[in-house]
Amino acid sequence: MPSVSAGHALDLDKFLKSLKGQQLEASINSLISLLKRRQIRGSEPCAIATAHILLQVVARSKWHDVDSLLINVSRTGRRLVDAQPNELVIGNIVRRVLGLIRDEASEDRGDAGDESASEAPTPTDIVPPTSISQQWSSKRFDSVDSSTSASRPPLVSSYSSINPPKSLFHLLSTSPPTDGNVSPFKTSGASTPTWRGNASQIHALRSEVIDGIEEIKDEISQVDDQIAASAEVQIHPGDLILVHQPSPTTERFILRAAQKRKFTVLLAMAPPRRQHSPENQHATFRKKLSAAGVTVVNVMNGGLMAYMSRVNKVIIGARAVVATGGVVADAGSAAIARAAKEQGAAVVVLNGIYKLSPESPFDESSLIEWGDSSTFVSFSDGPLVSGAEIRTALTELIPPELIDTYITNLGTHSRDHLSSLIADHYKREDADFHIWEEALP
């Protein structure tokens, strides 16, 4: 993401910097505006921004028990999702945080944890996403997938597994500064008599949830590295690898493989735009690859199919993965994936676990992000502007059957495993938080 930090225009960095000085509500609104104006775009920046703002919600919003915290978080989450419904990661992060809160609350209160029963619908109320209903019962992701990946780092296996030993330490170390942050910004005094819960319990919960969110943030920042760890397993010497518009994740993945292996990379790109000649796109990536001794061939999207018969693997960076296994990726990927399928080349999707969404699209077209008309047509072309209707899709949905392998930060998975991953990371009562939130008091 090219960020012009010297200028005035807003972007993710500026937003994160502004968080400290602003009131919570103003921060949420400025994030919503940034999402709507597409000044924060792309799954990773959106995920980071969402995690940051939810951390602020937990730390600074007014809540006196678990229920009200859940409501605060899901309200904010719903507004964020509405602001950019095409970025599924926003919803994912919100669900992760909601799940985190539920976990912490049930652990803290021990047996008293009644929060899930209080407002969550009974399992029969929700129509679960297709084909994964039987997976709901598995409470936690276990060793099924970890066995497939030797390189899986222990740190991020699951945020909740490392929570129990922390509570006392964090109670002492993190809550005072958090509290200090809170009081000046609170709209209505820090200690209102309505606090039902035990104050110390609240503090403990707050700091634990904050820690959990920090872990999610860490996870997001480490995803690229962890995915890249699988590179050597996937890419073999002499392979011809096709990469479509490499995202930072994909670049890292290829570069890691390039350290050990000699192979050829076909770089597929969208048609060049004015001033954005292909030479500028991914220039540093190509330089690095050449430095590592990997042959790079640039291919325009149109000329791809001729090469496809020789390609061994197609690597696609996902923007999001839906519950059915369909992948939301840059426009153009679906054609490549289909061609690869026809020619028998393996299609590998790289996606951080946070991009895996429990949602499954009812209407596929609703997931597609439509962009600026001037992406491919110049606005200076008067006759075309007035005479033609121009639609530019930024993303498209690759059908699940075209994809062979999903590589996440947790390892390598097949499509069948996705449902267990989903069950492992999201609580089913949060699956539809953006729908049922309306019914909350």
Binding site: A6, H8, W370, S374, S378, P383, I390
Partner: protein
């Protein structure tokens, strides 16, 4: 420069060190001045009741786009000047998320600036200078800008230039419009920028319009000689009038107290006087992105189409940028807000439908924008139209390319033709049709209740055709007239030649020998400007006329100079264009008449008629000889023709100057008398003209002729001693 400085010592100079140690510290604050009133009335009749910046563009008030654009670019402090309807704007902003009291506002300061009795943008900016509200670089935008440009690079470039030299005061943000016709280019007035290719310095600015007298642009030769070795002259640029200014710009406004318009006066003037003021203005020309001003109804239409075409991304309804919107994109590029309902057999295409709007069965809505809370009956056809909030349209009504403002009620079976404008609250009974575009309002241009026109609009109506008295005051040649309607059309304009020398078409029709040159027939007058360039040799003749008149006028204005060179030039033109005697005569007559009329006007001394005539013909050495040889050059028939030409030119020209009419009317006898005295015209010629039937064609021609009665009588008596008396009579 004085600096009031909210932020203690952040003067323009104090910023440089702050900038150099860069990003660690908070950025310097970007300020913006929004001119929410542009002192024009091109949105009438709508702006009688509401300010322009609150008119809805794709269901969102215009000013929201402007403020979002500023917020997007990280502007922190905003100063808004409202002008007309200040209270409405302040009220709206006060309730919106932008209000400084609102916690949600991205701006740290949003302040309204009130300027007592400002009459132009210039007045406002001069006042801003006095108050010293801005103390650093600021953006100057209008309240009707729609843009998605990220100005970071332009701002950085501007800052760099400013640090290099304090004379670099301003950077304009322009957008390339391409060589072809483009809907988002302003119609009527074409801005022409001369920009240095290397430094991007703007060297010259001018505006052209199809009504102007010549098709030329004059450029200071110094531009090529001294200022630049390589420059572009661009007439294709879309100018959204987004400027990055330093406070020196405001100071410059103050210095030139008579500048009114930011472009035509200020930019043109500052660039022209570059030697005097030593200031430099730059132009950043964007190829990508979008920037345009809804400066008139045609631009409103174009920008709405651009929004539908997603060119303004991300400012499109689907993104719900603006508070509380819930638009969703459906098939056929129909964008519907939650809460709107339509019958299943309603045909919708490429349209925006606001919330709580209902659309009846069998209705067809194509390329239209419908506001919130509208009730559209069944079998209604809306094409390319804009329906604002809470409007009701009865069954079976057809509306094409029109604007229906808020709370309009249209009965059943009506038909609203292309180009109609129905202002707020207009009601129309059933089965009303208009043959031509209707402009209807419930109030007059001064805001009073109108007397309802039930004959035209049916018994239930409360409105009448809107009539703006200011229209009459506008000069015929003022190009802003072209921008007053929703549909840009040159059909009713006579564009064939220069306006100074084009005679009224009804007079032309009987012009025997050279009517073709003046395009008397409607087919000619309705042709577009382009085709008039491209057409046969009549174009050449027209340009001869325009060029010749101009050349002569310049020579005459020089007053003292030698007329021989002008004569040489004239003859050269004549040969080049193969002009006939009649054409030459006409050109000569027009030039001298113009000069004489000019001399009568107060700006040029307000001479009385006889003096003006004398000066026009005799001030330049050789002028009278020239008239004799070239203009008349012959016997009685030629003299008659020449007088007729004079008469027509005078009649045409004095039209534009109502207050001068009385005075200039007496010019004809004065000129005739002068010519008689100079022995250019003979008694026979004048008397021959007096008898000629063509001299009394039309009311004003007859009136002009009547003025010469005394002169003719005197000639008939041929009594030289009465000369003085008759002269006095004439000039009274």
């Amino acid at each position: 420069m004085s600096h009031k400085g909210k932020n203690s010592a952040s003067s323009a100079k104090g910023k440089k060190p702050a900038k150099s140690n860069a990003e660690s510290k908070a950025e310097d604050v970007l300020q913006a001045v929004v001119l929410a009133d542009s002192f024009q009335d091109r949105f009438k009749p709508f702006t009688v009741e509401k300010p322009r910046c609150l008119l809805p563009l794709a269901n969102t008030p215009l000013i929201e786009y402007t403020l979002e654009f500023l917020a997007m670019n990280g502007v922190q402090e905003v100063y808004i000047y409202c002008g007309a309807h200040t209270n409405q704007v302040e009220d709206y902003i006060g309730r919106s998320k932008w209000a400084s009291s609102s916690k949600l506002s991205p701006f740290s300061v949003l302040q309204f600036v009130r300027v007592a009795d400002a009459r132009s943008v210039g007045d406002v900016l001069r006042d801003m200078d006095k108050r010293s509200l801005v103390d650093g670089d600021f953006l100057l935008v209008h309240g009707d800008v729609v843009s998605n440009l990220i100005l970071d690079d332009a701002l950085a470039a501007h800052r760099k230039r400013r640090e290099a030299s304090a004379a670099n005061i301003m950077t304009m943000i322009l957008h390339s419009g391409g060589p072809d016709e483009h809907r988002t280019k302003t119609n009527g007035i074409t801005p022409v920028f001369v920009v240095d290719t290397k430094t991007q310095r703007c060297l010259h600015y001018d505006e052209m319009n199809p009504l102007q007298s010549d098709h030329y642009l004059s450029m200071d030769p110094a531009i090529a000689d001294e200022l630049s070795t390589e420059f572009e002259i661009r007439a294709d640029l879309i100018d959204a009038q987004i400027d990055i200014c330093t406070p020196e710009v405001l100071a410059l406004w103050s210095e030139s107290f008579d500048y009114e318009l930011p472009r035509r006066n200020f930019l043109h003037g500052v660039l022209k006087d570059w030697e005097l003021n030593g200031k430099m203005i730059y132009a950043e020309i964007f190829e990508d992105g979008y920037a345009a001003r809804a400066s008139n109804l045609q631009m409103y239409d174009s920008i709405s189409r651009d929004i539908l075409g997603r060119w303004t991304f991300p400012f499109i309804p689907e993104n719900n940028i603006f508070l509380n919107q819930t638009f969703k994109k459906h098939i056929n590029n129909v964008i519907i807000e939650t809460g709107a309902s339509h019958a299943h057999d309603a045909k919708l295409q490429n349209s925006v439908i606001g919330t709580d709007t209902s659309i009846g069965s069998g209705s067809k809505i194509i390329n239209s924008i419908v506001g919130t809370g509208c009730k559209i009956g069944s079998n209604v056809t809306l094409e390319n139209s804009f329906i604002w909030n809470n409007t009701t349209i009865g069954d079976g009504t057809a509306v094409s390319k029109s604007i229906l403002a808020g709370n309009v009620v249209i009965g059943k079976g009506c038909s609203i033709p292309t180009g109609s404008l129905l202002s707020y609250g207009v009601q129309i009974s059933d089965n009303i049709s208009f043959s031509t575009a209707a402009v209807l309002s419930t109030v007059t241009s001064t805001g009073k209740q109108v007397a309802k026109d039930t004959n035209l609009l049916g018994p239930d109506s409360n409105a009448a055709p809107f009539y703006d008295p200011e229209d009459d005051e506008l000069d015929d040649e003022d190009p802003s007239r072209l921008q007053k309607s929703l549909i840009y059309s040159l059909a009713n304009w006579n564009l064939s030649t220069s306006s100074i020398s084009t005679f009224n078409s009804d007079d032309e029709s009987d012009d025997d020998d050279d009517s073709n040159l003046l395009s008397a027939d409607p087919a000619h007058s309705s042709r577009s400007r382009l085709s008039s360039f491209a057409s046969d040799d009549s174009a050449g003749k027209m340009s001869f006329h325009a060029d010749a008149v101009h050349g002569l006028l310049d020579a005459l204005r020089a007053d003292s100079g030698d007329f021989d060179s002008a004569k040489l030039e004239f003859m050269g033109l004549r040969l080049a264009n193969n002009a006939s005697d009649a054409m030459m005569r006409k050109a000569v007559a027009t030039a001298f008449t113009r000069r004489a009329v000019e001399l009568v006007t107060p700006e040029h001394g307000g001479l009385d008629a006889s003096k003006a005539a004398e000066r026009a013909f005799t001030a330049c050495k050789g002028a009278s000889k020239f008239v004799n040889e070239v203009g008349v050059g012959g016997g009685e028939p030629a003299q008659i023709e020449f007088i007729l030409s004079l008469q027509r030119a005078l009649q045409h020209y004095s039209k534009g100057q109502e207050q001068q009419q009385a005075k200039s009317a007496t010019l004809l006898p004065a000129m005739l008398q002068q010519l008689y005295a100079l022995d250019i015209l003979e008694e026979e010629g004048i008397l021959g003209w007096w008898e000629d039937a063509r001299a009394v064609d039309g009311e004003s021609m007859a009136a002009l002729k009547e003025k010469c009665k005394v002169l003719v009588e005197w000639l008939e008596n041929a009594d030289s001693e009465d000369e003085d008396d008759s002269d006095d009579d004439d000039s009274d």
